[in-house]
Symmetry: C2
Subunit: 204 residues, 2 copies
Amino acid sequence: MGHLERKKREQKNIRGSILNAAITIAKSKGWNAVTIRKIAEAIEYSPPIVYTHFQNKDDLIREIIIQGFQKLIQTNQEYVVASKNAKKQLLALSVAHWDFAVENRELYQLMFSIERPIPNEEAERGSLLIKDIFAHVSGKEGRELDSIIFNWVCLLNGIIGMIMQFEESEHPFLEKYAVKPRDLFMQFMQRFINSIATTESLSN
Amino acid sequence: MGHLERKKREQKNIRGSILNAAITIAKSKGWNAVTIRKIAEAIEYSPPIVYTHFQNKDDLIREIIIQGFQKLIQTNQEYVVASKNAKKQLLALSVAHWDFAVENRELYQLMFSIERPIPNEEAERGSLLIKDIFAHVSGKEGRELDSIIFNWVCLLNGIIGMIMQFEESEHPFLEKYAVKPRDLFMQFMQRFINSIATTESLSN
DNA sequence: TTAAATTATCTAACATTGTTAGGCAAAGGA
DNA sequence: TCCTTTGCCTAACAATGTTAGATAATTTAA
């Protein structure tokens, strides 16, 4: 009866392998190339095995997204604890998103894709940390605070998505600026943070 | 030989019907349901007819996107000429995007989808009008001006995409605000515009 | 230990997709 | 009238997600 544990672990490993295989394929050939058969081939099982671990392909993708948000939350926390004052934490938070997006490009694109309206409790969970920091820097609360965070998220994902697109298509915009995309991004976010910061928090 | 003209027109009509059919299907069942066979059925032709007018499905979609940008540019112009001073024009420009996005929801999602890195000269063309207005309001030029416009576009599409997503998933965020999404959007954009406007243009 | 039952996995098939090859029939030109 | 071109179709291909049913392995019960 103690085998049940090992069994479950093995099952989970298959589940994990499926998820990993999907991400690996996406990394090298894009999400369009992520196919049940290719996943099966990668993990050396037959295609139907996927359906013993996921209801269908959408379910599989959703799982990847959820894990993505968990990972992002973790990155956020790591970056935030590394910086002292709240204003710097806000920039750190922004940069955390950027670095996550660069490191997990495909995953990020999936997570924030407009076409996939997936409401995620994970995202909700992560917003607690964010809310704290924003409250501190902006001095706002309640509705106004929500609105600022909303603004930030939009700006953040808008910029990241756009710079990524520019990079892919070798858009002249990036050449014009002789700075690295990451620095460019930081400039943008710094400006936004300054615009919402109280004069108090501006002093340091 | 004069028939050539009429013939071409008829050909173009098929082409147009294909595009229309694709958009109609997308409107009612989403882009995933846009399929060569369904398009063919809608226009009462056989599937291969599509390939006499488009190289492949991607080509068809690209064409839809290009026409979308042309339409958006037109909307922009209409809204801008209807407002007098530059600052109001800037808000008008923002609202034009919003209204276009609401009226052509699926098209908009397609046009600004992260997953589809399509560099479009059309978008470039439309940016001329935008650049003028921004230059006037912000008093900037060159690199700084580009950067502000970039910021605006990111914010704009970020907010629109996000509010749309919230609407679809009946996210509590929208309930908390007892305002209509459009008004909420205008608030956000107004704040941004104020933040970039020179003190000069702030006076009126 | 052995028979039964359960579980893990596979092979084979299905319908749906994009796409292409090849043919037919109408129209136009000689 | 015959030949060529054109417009369109039927039929097929391969790749996709997904399911049904069979088989092999393992666990349980006797």
